[in-house]
Subunit: 129 residues, 2 copies
């Protein structure tokens, strides 16, 4: 397994971390980690970030209760981004929305993935009759 020292941190010593819901696969937020916060995340299995505005480490959920329990953690092909799948307690966004990405510039239709469930529901209902 990779030594996390060998990940590529930017000039501020930070690496972006994409946080994704482990079950629904919804993307919840993007935040930044330094090496220390990544170590704490791996140890505690809850997410620790570097707050660029407050200039300090924070354990998400410590004050709000909205903890993120880490289920799966990947890094990308060039080692300069993280993808962390979590169980999210409460909401990820400080606005009270579940995901921080609730503002749309382009809005998609219902994805095919969900349409498959509708089709399965139809089949089950029909067979039950």
């Amino acid at each position: 397994m990779l030594d996390i020292k060998n990940l590529k941190y930017n000039n501020d010593g930070l690496i972006p971390a994409i946080i994704q819901d482990y079950q629904s696969k919804e993307v919840l937020m993007l935040a930044y980690m330094n090496q220390e916060s990544l170590e704490k995340t791996l140890e505690s299995k809850t997410t620790w970030f570097w707050s660029r505005s407050r200039g300090g480490l924070w354990n998400k959920g410590k004050t709000s209760g909205s903890y993120q329990t880490v289920q799966d953690l990947s890094y990308d092909c060039d080692g300069d981004a993280l993808l962390i799948q979590v169980y999210q307690e409460g909401n990820a966004c400080h606005t009270g929305e579940y995901s921080c990405f609730f503002n749309k510039l382009i809005k998609g239709e219902i994805p095919q993935g969900y349409k498959i469930l509708d089709r399965l529901y139809e089949i089950i209902t029909k067979r039950k009759e």
Copy 2:
């Protein structure tokens, strides 16, 4: 709708863009856009990024054929990150993997989301008998 000038670009004029498969919700890559590449993305409905290594704009798929067609585009609560859901032609990663996030530090079990489909399959099979 927000004027994209009002998004928060970093000191290099860049904003991170998370690219996600619109159907499976798998996260494919993290790349960076400047205002011009975001404008071109919105106009062409294919992804344009700023290459930090090559120092220029690139239209993903132009040389590889692995175009990403934009289905849904969001920005986050503080306007400093983008989430773009796409139909991916071929593979997102230059290594030949579908997603760039194929290296694991923590590996999760099969998520509940897929187990539901197994359960539905069982129900359908049973009712068919």
